[in-house]
């Protein structure tokens, strides 16, 4: 079993957290498994980027609800990652000799998997996070990392100044060397946000992970501990500017917006580029059907849907049914949800396998995005207000209160 081949660069994807800003959406699935764009999951983007960049070893670090993710990734075949020399591996925490421990932070998660990484004897390790929508050639970033001889290269992207204080901000000198890193600064000095994409020279990273693990005061986090320590030691940190589409989909609002971006003409984010395909596990479904009395405006509709009502400026995932006289507007309807006759859904996200029964009204024409959580069956005539989040427990509670 020691016939593993050396890899120049491998990727570690931090799929970990519970993504509480996505509210009920991540109650039963891990954030990277959240659906996006009619047929994708968030994790399809980093995985497809890796496949297209020729990075063919991807470790997915997760400890929370890995079942759905494990099943979705399977053998890795949809991303051309079902390889003998490489592939995609889901890596939950495990027991060594007599003890075992959960991942304590992003840096600790990598540290616990040093032996996984060392199997491939890599020169560089690409660290990714699992909650962004973007298409990026990591190979170009790697070339820049090698050329500048950096210890770390961090991908950065200008964000509007008004939101800069909600990102990790990089202050750089004229040669793109990072001189300061501020996590969510109140008064940002730059608008270059970290994209959560890092390339580390592996021996450097390894020594800092070892050091970090020995520090009981550390939160074992890249942003809070490891990168500040490297900056403090005056290592060579380079910023790599990326100017393509990049969206953090860590909140209900931003997830909804990113879906709407796909409908713009020309689309703000183009999914159908043969030179940079985005792969996904395909459901086994026939084409969708548009009925005699349906009306579709400016929407994206995936396979297996049956549409007999009105759909405007919306994204329908595969297997969705919209019955006659139902209206779906400015909304995202996730796989296998059913919008029954006469129901109205506006500015909302309806998650997988929901039923919006006849006469329900979900969301409002102007207002915050409403959310119906996975597997929820809204009873007839039910109302979900703008900005409200409802799941099966809420429905049961409402029923109980009504009695």
């Amino acid at each position: 079993m020691n016939d593993m081949r050396k890899k120049s660069c491998i990727a570690m994807l931090l799929a970990g957290g519970q993504g509480s800003r996505l509210g009920l959406l991540t109650k039963v699935v891990a954030k990277p498994a959240v659906p996006f764009g009619g047929k994708y999951r968030i994790i399809d983007f980093p995985l497809s980027n890796c496949a297209n960049s020729g990075i063919d070893v991807v470790g997915v670090l997760t400890q929370y609800q890995p079942l759905e993710l494990n099943r979705y990734i399977g053998s890795g075949a949809p991303w051309d990652l079902d390889l003998t020399n490489g592939g995609v591996f889901v890596l939950p925490p495990y027991m060594k000799a007599k003890s075992g421990e959960w991942y304590r932070g992003t840096a600790n998660a990598i540290h616990q998997n040093v032996s996984f990484i060392e199997q491939y004897d890599p020169d560089y390790v690409l660290v990714l996070s699992g909650d962004h929508i973007y298409k990026m050639d990591y190979n170009k970033m790697l070339a820049s990392h090698i050329e500048t001889g950096a210890d770390i290269t961090i991908a950065v992207r200008p964000v509007p100044w008004e939101v800069a204080s909600s990102f990790g901000i990089m202050n750089v000198d004229p040669e793109n060397t990072i001189v300061e890193f501020e996590e969510k600064p109140k008064l940002p000095k730059s608008n270059l946000a970290s994209m959560g994409v890092y390339i580390f020279t592996w021996p450097v990273l390894k020594s800092y992970l070892d050091k970090d693990a020995c520090d009981p005061a550390s939160k074992n986090d890249f942003g809070k501990n490891v990168i500040p320590a490297m900056l403090h030691d005056r290592l060579k940190l380079k910023a790599y500017a990326f100017d393509g589409y990049w969206k953090d989909v860590g909140t209900i609002e931003s997830l909804w917006e990113a879906n709407m971006d796909l409908l713009k003409i020309p689309p703000e984010f183009n999914l159908s580029d043969a030179r940079w395909p985005i792969y996904a596990r395909s459901p086994v479904l026939p084409p969708h059907f548009i009925g005699q009395r349906a009306s579709i405006e400016h929407s994206m509709i995936a396979e297996g849907c049956e549409v007999n009502g009105t759909v405007r400026k919306s994204v329908l995932f595969y297997g969705v049914e919209v019955e006659k006289d139902a209206l779906v507007e400015d909304s995202v309807i996730m796989p296998y949800a059913r919008i029954e006759a006469g129901a109205v859904v506006r500015r909302a996200i309806v998650a997988e396998n929901c039923v919006v029964s006849a006469g329900c009204v979900v969301g409002e024409a102007n207002g915050d995005i409403a959310l119906v959580g996975q597997d929820t069956a809204l009873p007839e005539g039910c109302r979900v207000l703008a900005g409200e989040q409802v799941d099966r427990l809420d429905v049961a509670r409402r029923r109980h209160d009504a009695k």
Partner: protein, 378 residues
């Protein structure tokens, strides 16, 4: 689930399907927006537990081979068992075509002998239906039949007017207890309304024995030279198993056209796609985009389409574009075809990657749709 093997017999190019089969086997004909005809019978076999499926090829099999690939989409890409492509010229006895099914089976004795399954299902490849063979297998074992033949009642959905003259169909007289007591092959007027679906279930070793005996006597035709005599002289216990769901053979352009149009019916869609999953080759396509100005009614639309014009009673395959101001009615538009602006199409079948330039106009008749071959620009 019983471990069975499947043998799919593909036919040579068929003149009744005109341009559509000039470069492909009927089994490889695109249907229902994202499938090939063979997907249905292949998925039926896999869904019924077959882990070993051989496809007997004849001439023009490249597009079929390309579609089936390593069998991955059907979970048949395994090293032991799996999908076996059996092209004719692998044997020295043949020159690219078989005179009949019996010859095709005879030429693949090596494969049949090497297989380990007890039961084999031998089936044609031009029938669109969705069915588990498991109850048929249970009946076969219960009755102790030598051969069980699948049949269905003659209905609008499984017969085409006049097709009995053109294509060999067999009709069965099935007794109360399920035993087949008479068989008519290709009659002008059939005496029975049970039509054979060209699917038969038989012990693998018995199949080898029967084919060996028949071909040694110079026989070619499975129905006429093997089944009919066996039923007549009661030398084999032949039983029938009735399938009462939707099934449509694709033998003529009209049959092909109707088969696609059938899918605009909710009941047919449910039968064909909700009974058991139908697998096909995967293509990474974005969901369909509906731009403003579109008007789509009563149509089946696959991923990758971009629609700005109006579409009614159509089947659009993957990656089709319908431009602004265009109107497409009662038509079947295959993969990657591009309808530019202000085009008018009615009763048309466009093969793959056809381009219709702006302001083009093609009006066919429902009974005789216009067919435009692959890669043509008009």
């Amino acid at each position: 689930m019983k471990d069975i093997m499947g043998i799919i017999f593909t036919t040579k190019d068929d003149l009744s399907l005109r341009e559509l089969t000039s470069a492909r086997a009927v089994a490889a004909l695109p249907v229902a927006g994202r499938y090939r005809i063979v997907d249905f019978v292949l998925s039926n076999l896999v869904n019924s537990g077959a882990r070993n499926v051989g496809v007997i090829m004849q001439r023009n099999y490249h597009s079929l081979m390309d579609h089936l690939g390593s069998g991955k989409e059907w979970d048949l890409h395994t090293r032991n068992n799996g999908l076996f492509i059996l092209p004719p010229f692998l044997t020295q006895e043949n020159g690219g075509e078989y005179a009949g099914v019996l010859d095709g089976l005879r030429a693949n004795f090596d494969y049949l002998r090497r297989s380990r399954q007890e039961l084999a299902i031998v089936t044609g490849s031009n029938m669109v239906f969705n069915m588990s063979f498991e109850p048929m297998i249970r009946q076969h074992e219960k009755t102790g039949a030598d051969i069980t033949m699948l049949y269905t009642k003659v209905r609008a959905s499984n017969m085409e007017l006049g097709s009995a003259q053109k294509h060999a169909h067999a009709f069965l007289n099935v007794a109360e207890d399920g035993r087949v007591v008479d068989m008519e092959v290709n009659p002008n007027a059939a005496s029975y309304n049970n039509i054979s679906m060209n699917v038969l279930l038989v012990k693998r070793t018995l199949l080898i024995h029967l084919v060996d005996g028949a071909t040694a006597h110079g026989a070619h035709d499975l129905d006429r030279d093997l089944l009919q005599p066996s039923i007549k002289c009661c030398s084999l216990k032949v039983y029938g198993y009735e399938f009462d769901g939707y099934c449509r053979p694709v033998e003529t352009i009209r049959g092909y056209f109707r088969c696609n149009m059938d899918l605009l019916d909710l009941g047919v869609r449910r039968e064909l796609f909700k009974t058991m999953p139908v697998y096909t080759k995967i293509r990474d396509e974005v969901p369909a985009i509906y731009r403003s100005g579109n008007s789509v009614k009563n149509s089946l639309v696959a991923d990758g389409c971009v629609i700005e014009g109006s579409v009614e009673n159509c089947v659009l395959f993957r990656g089709v574009r319908i431009g602004r101001g265009s109107s497409v009615k009662n038509s079947i538009i295959m993969q990657d075809s591009n309808i530019e602006e202000f085009v008018e199409l009615e009763n048309v079948i466009l093969d793959k990657a056809v381009t219709i330039r702006s302001h083009g106009r093609l009006i066919g008749q429902m009974q005789y749709p216009i067919v435009i071959g692959k890669n043509v620009t008009l």
